[in-house]
Amino acid sequence: MANLNIESAKQRTFDAIVIGSGISGGWAAKELTEGGLNTLVLERGRDVKHGVDYPTASKNAWEFEHRGEIPLTIQKENPILIRANAFSEGTAHFFVKDNEHPYIQEKEFDWIRGYQVGGRSLLWARQTQRWSDFDFEGPDRDGFAVDWPIRYKDIAHWYSHVEKFAGIAGNKDGLAELPDGEFLPAFPLNAVEDYFAQQLKDKFPGRHVISGRCAHLSQPNPVHYEQGRGRCLSRTICNRGCPLGGYYSSNSSTLPWAERTGRMTLRPFSVVHSIIYDDAKGKATGVRVVDTESKELVEFYAKIVFVNAGSLNTNLILLNSVSDRFPQGLGNDNGLLGKYIAFHNYSASISAEYEGLMEYTTDGRRPTGGYIPRFRNVFKQETDFLRGYACGFSASRRTLSDTDQFGAGLKNELLNPHLGTWRVGSHMMGETIPKEHNQVALDANRTDAWGIPLLKIAVEYDDNDERMRNDYLAQFEEMFAAAGFINIRPQKREMAPGLDIHEMGGVRMGRDPKTSLLNAWNQIHSCKNVFVTDGACMTSTSTQNPSLTYMAITARAANFAVEELKKQNL
């Protein structure tokens, strides 16, 4: 019996464990296995095999019973999830239903999750803009949070590393505030987007409209074909999963790559309960997992652990990893674990029409749109709010039919629609300031289906966010009017934090163990063989869609971990 246990423990021992298979976990798996480490990748949900498990990917519009609409009973069962734009009849199977993993909203928070292999990398918006030092230096310059322990020079190489592999379409725009990267050909802007770009150049110096850089293979390189991926054909139904591998996901890219090394063990249906800390050894030795099929608690062991469970679940796991040494959660000597959660402010948008350039329209489709990098408070503080916002900006012409009739006349109108004027639209993506009271914690009494405490979430907007969105709307009303756009309609959207699906922080990086949880290499200050490289590590949020930065931070930390293991420092 003793021998059997030893044998069993051996089988459950790896060089590295990665918790989570989403956008950052996939990168940890790839880099660690390429670095020669036998790696266990734990995923709490089911497996989703690239191409195979995309049941709706090739369905036509008429093959959806409700043409994409979510039936009322499902809407009522999912009052939170129904608010997510991407949740539809075609994507519903990739989202966590409200009753599947409850949480406690001390303040209203829409927690949108995807529990499956690949996580939310199947569902992301695929926008990939680099950070610059105007972002990394933000907290230090403006006096909030703590100073990032890294700067652009520390991560530039790793941005390149992940961009080349993931495949990013974009232009070299030469903007200091949005560094150029390793780009495949960009998807073009259209006549009115270019027109607006020129208007800004003439009338609002320093404000730029660029083609949003995105993780799509506009023109694949050999490394992409080697992954089994092909050119993006602009189907623009990405969130159902792309059988072509036209966009980057863990499923299409990093996970199969890691698997091919022969050193990855992928274990779905594995909810991590906690990380095992050995007081005698002074480090983590593995993780405790609830097998959701057998309901058994199983332990796995490794020299290093990467925590990539998705920002808030990463917080949950660390808070639940209590030991004699860490009674308040792993690495939580300063009591800051779970605090300084932040997100992105998407609570305003604006639309208008343009009656010029009517000799043009668009033909075909593209998986991205225009992007306006942050132009407020970049080079110096210049408004009554801190930081700023990036913006989406796109134009298109709709086809219209007069439906104020019926019969053969209506039919003729529907089948012979006419082109309307250009419609333009923009939305804001604002930086929010991390604050101590925006936090998550474990509930003392209630547990989930796996016996793990429920997460209590208390995150809210502040006055800075309100001033920022007022400024966004005012600036765009002015810019749209200056460009000759008409019927300008500014719109505030009262949405809870979380619906941006950019929740970050709680396990922030920093220079000082007294005020942060992670060091410059994403190691827990007081438990150096545990790395946190998903959104939980973010010290501040800046304005860019965060996934590219998670990927780069993960690749950097994973390569550091491999080197440190070789040097026997971990």
């Binding site: 006549a191 000799e359 043009y360």
Partner: protein, 161 residues
């Protein structure tokens, strides 16, 4: 409604033609009247109309699955009022009227001249869903306004003729 009658709504599950027994529609007995209205809204011409494409089944499917119970009641009440109106004007139920008379009734409703709210709301739902079902049918998207599944291109300066 004929027990055991089977329709083949290709628009629901194209590719594989699956038969859906009418009984599975909660309001299956409303298929004829909804079909008649849909056909007046988008009639057969030299190409198929709403009824040919089975759009009435889509309309009822949406009413059943995507509307509150009170809206469903309004919808059913509206259909009753449609027959009342039709009996007032032509002495018979809507589906028994000639296409010309049916069109005349629909014209009444379109002009919304002092008709019960339920009828107007019911008609609004039928019209909206008929247009949606027709325009997203396999026939229209493959034979009329051909939808390119994978265009593989984007031209932002496409000249309008």
């Amino acid at each position: 409604m004929a027990g055991g009658a089977v329709v083949v709504p290709r628009f629901l599950v194209a590719g594989e033609i699956r038969s859906i027994p009418l009984e599975t529609l909660k309001f299956g007995d409303k298929v004829p009247i909804v079909a008649a209205v849909a056909e007046i809204i988008i009639p057969k011409t030299d190409i198929p109309g709403a009824k040919d494409l089975g759009v009435q089944l889509f309309v009822l499917k949406m009413v059943e699955d995507c509307y509150e119970e009170e809206v469903q009641h309004t919808f059913l009440k509206g259909l009753e009022q449609l027959d009342l109106l039709s009996n007032q004007r032509f002495g018979k139920d809507f589906i028994k009227c000639s296409a010309k008379n049916q069109a005349s009734i629909v014209q009444n409703i379109e002009e919304a001249s002092e008709l019960p709210n339920e009828l107007l709301d019911c008609y609004a739902i039928m019209k909206r869903r008929t247009i949606q079902g027709y325009m997203t049918s396999e026939y229209v998207l493959t034979k009329q306004l051909v939808y390119e599944v994978a265009p593989g291109r984007y031209n932002g300066y496409h000249r309008v003729n």
